[in-house]
Symmetry: C2
Subunit: 418 residues, 2 copies
């Protein structure tokens, strides 16, 4: 089995005006889709956070991939590392490896007539739980160029466009999202308003959903250690975990000594190179995996084993994404014996897609597909349309600070705001 | 694909009178062979250190395995852990999991017409290097019941039976073994004679083979910390690594502060539960994997990632074994991006086997098979004959102390002898 063709397609999908510590989501989120075509007429797909740089790096991989056997994941990874490694930064290299590895797994699964999960050790669960990902937001659903491709059967209608700038708005958003998707855990992206307002929102969610609904707050590392301790103590007994209130492993370790809440991270410990420090300092109790940033599905399994070995919990991080990433998250999530929390996903916020039949949430979970490969098929018309959006949308890298300045002229990101 | 039959066959293979810190190898080494037969007429095999206990535990797995899909490794492992875990000790559980996982991989490879290495991420190398495993020994090749099944083309003739009780004997053994197999690294199993004699043997090997031949000494944890420091300093510049001179991670960590030689272990850090302590203490620079004891091929890959993540080297441990284990070691060794040393193997000491065509050493390495599964086929006549040996040899568990007492009445194992 040989790779004959590689197609790299940057796309832009409509993204609502979601607020975070870095600013505001622009009207379009950027993803890059990789398609590998094999000599037996199969194709495999991968998806990563997009933009011009990652697309250019992926284009540079083509000559190293054509003629390779997709089962040779180690050789492919080593070739890419050798050929790109001297010039590419490690974060981009992990994204490149991830996109290509997922596409290879899709091909491998199709070749052996097995779902990808079966090439990762098989299912440890039949379905993967996800959490409702709540955002402070302005009114609107993003986009403007008019492409709508996602089967909207599972949409949450007008509520997706509603403004949410206070505790009541967040509770209303949570109710609408949970009604549509059945999520049983709630995560609020914080770091937007002063801590007392965000903590108020968490208490409001707790009141509205009751004490059995796991809640998480993610201030995106924009709080000081002192602020994090003060509000962390208030949130004891309310939160399931407290995600990245501060920046750096050292600050997380200090925070851990002062609050009883489990600390989680996808900002302080973000690669294998960060693991020894995390274990030495005891900085976090839970690590949020992300196959895009850690280098692929196998790397995610490795991270799971490391977490289990060192007594850390494992959860999963997300960015705005379409159905290919969701399918990959489901397959690896189903294979992970150590996954201990409902995963993050931005998916309900997107209403455009590149797959013909998106995986569907039932009771907040997605059933692992039984069909060969990832279990999704490329919708080539949508892919072409969303690539047109990319070319026309005026964005080629994510920049939440710039997007925010459109709404609030002069707004500046601050590493520590409160 | 479903598992229809499971056959568990304890065997005894002729084993030479090799000396170690625990005593002497008995005339037979015990292994247990697992065969799984699937509903599509394929079979897969696994092999682990044998004897009555492990055989009985494996027999207890049958009812939990029949009807299962061999691709569902996670589900199978979880089932076995749940069903046996409360009663079986963790070491036996890892052996059971390993035997069954390897047999499943052999089945999976045959089902998809791929070598096992391709289900582990593919080759990172075309061949796996092994080291000459040197032993002090009495004269003889072990056995007595007369079954000889190994294709002896690659044997090393009379030299395999020669006595080796001093530096000259070890050098002669090394020369004969390297001439037959082409090994380029040498390991001496020590812990047998007073340290000065074993160190003398290492210097003799260094003189005979030159400074470019990597040398290792393994006193099997029978030296005191003080003795290990004294002789470790003498061996600086001579050894590639210094394997388990002392017992416990704490003693290894203390030793590491006092000698510049890299320390290696398969006795102080032997399971994932031991990893946090090893990393905290900095007890060893190199961990010897062993898919039998760490729970399988996937667990070995996980251990490799942990070693890479924490800047530790990875090598491979061995016991007396036949061709199934050797094939599994080659497949996983080929898939491990982090394998940094030539692997141990006892294989040249065995001259009986259960496979029709053993993998062959060329220049001290074994080429990774390209045929489906492990790339070895069961020789059912030999398996039956070696099972007869098991029933008739009078041994049902390994006990090197007892075997030694036959030669030296009253000999007793000492945890620390020098």
């Amino acid at each position: 089995m040989k790779i004959l063709e590689m197609h790299v397609t940057p796309i832009a999908i409509s993204d609502p005006p979601l607020l975070n510590a870095a600013g505001l989501h622009a009207p379009y989120a950027l993803r890059t889709i990789v398609e590998l075509v094999s000599d037996d007429g199969l194709y495999g797909v991968g998806e990563v956070p997009g933009g011009a740089s990652i697309t250019a790096w992926l284009e540079q991989c083509r000559s190293h991939l054509l003629g390779q056997d997709p089962f040779q994941l180690n050789a492919i990874a080593e070739t890419l590392k050798t050929r790109l490694g001297g010039r590419i930064n490690p974060r981009h290299l992990a994204l490149v490896q991830s996109a290509i590895e997922v596409a290879c797994f899709d091909l491998m699964g199709k070749a052996v007539n097995r779902p990808v999960v079966d090439l990762l050790g098989g299912k440890t669960r039949d379905q993967v739980d996800f959490a409702a990902y709540l955002f402070y937001k302005y009114e609107g659903v993003g986009g403007a160029l008019g492409f709508k491709t996602r089967d909207n059967a599972q949409g949450w209608g007008a509520a997706r466009g509603a403004e949410a700038l206070d505790a009541k708005g967040i509770v209303d958003q949570a109710k609408a999202m949970c009604e549509a998707y059945g999520f049983k855990s709630l995560k609020l992206k914080g770091g937007v308003f002063p801590p007392e307002e965000e903590v108020e929102a968490m208490f409001a969610l707790s009141d509205a959903f009751g004490p059995d609904t796991p809640l998480r707050l993610d201030p995106n590392a924009i709080w000081s250690l002192e602020t994090s301790i003060t509000w962390g103590k208030r949130l004891e007994g309310v939160l399931e975990y407290y995600e990245d209130p501060v920046r750096t492993q050292e600050a997380m370790a200090e925070l851990a000594k002062n609050v009883s809440l489990p600390l989680a991270t996808n900002m302080c410990t973000t690669s294998f190179a960060d693991i020894p420090g995390a274990m030495k300092l005891g900085s976090e109790a839970i690590i949020l995996s992300d196959h895009h940033y850690w280098g692929g599905l196998r790397a995610t399994l490795d991270l799971g084993r490391i977490c289990q070995t060192f007594g850390r919990g494992l959860s999963m991080h997300s960015n705005s994404h379409v159905g290919i990433s969701l399918a990959a998250m489901v397959h690896v999530g189903a294979a992970l014996p150590y996954l201990s929390y409902a995963c993050d996903t931005h998916y309900p916020w997107q209403y455009e897609d590149v797959v013909t039949k998106p995986l569907e949430f039932i009771d907040g979970a997605i059933k692992v597909p039984d069909s060969p490969g990832l279990g999704v098929e490329l919708d080539r018309d949508s892919l072409a349309a969303l690539h047109e959006t990319y070319k026309n949308c005026g964005l080629d890298e994510r920049n939440d600070e710039l997007a925010m300045q459109v709404k609030q002229p002069g707004w500046r990101f601050a590493a520590t705001r409160w």
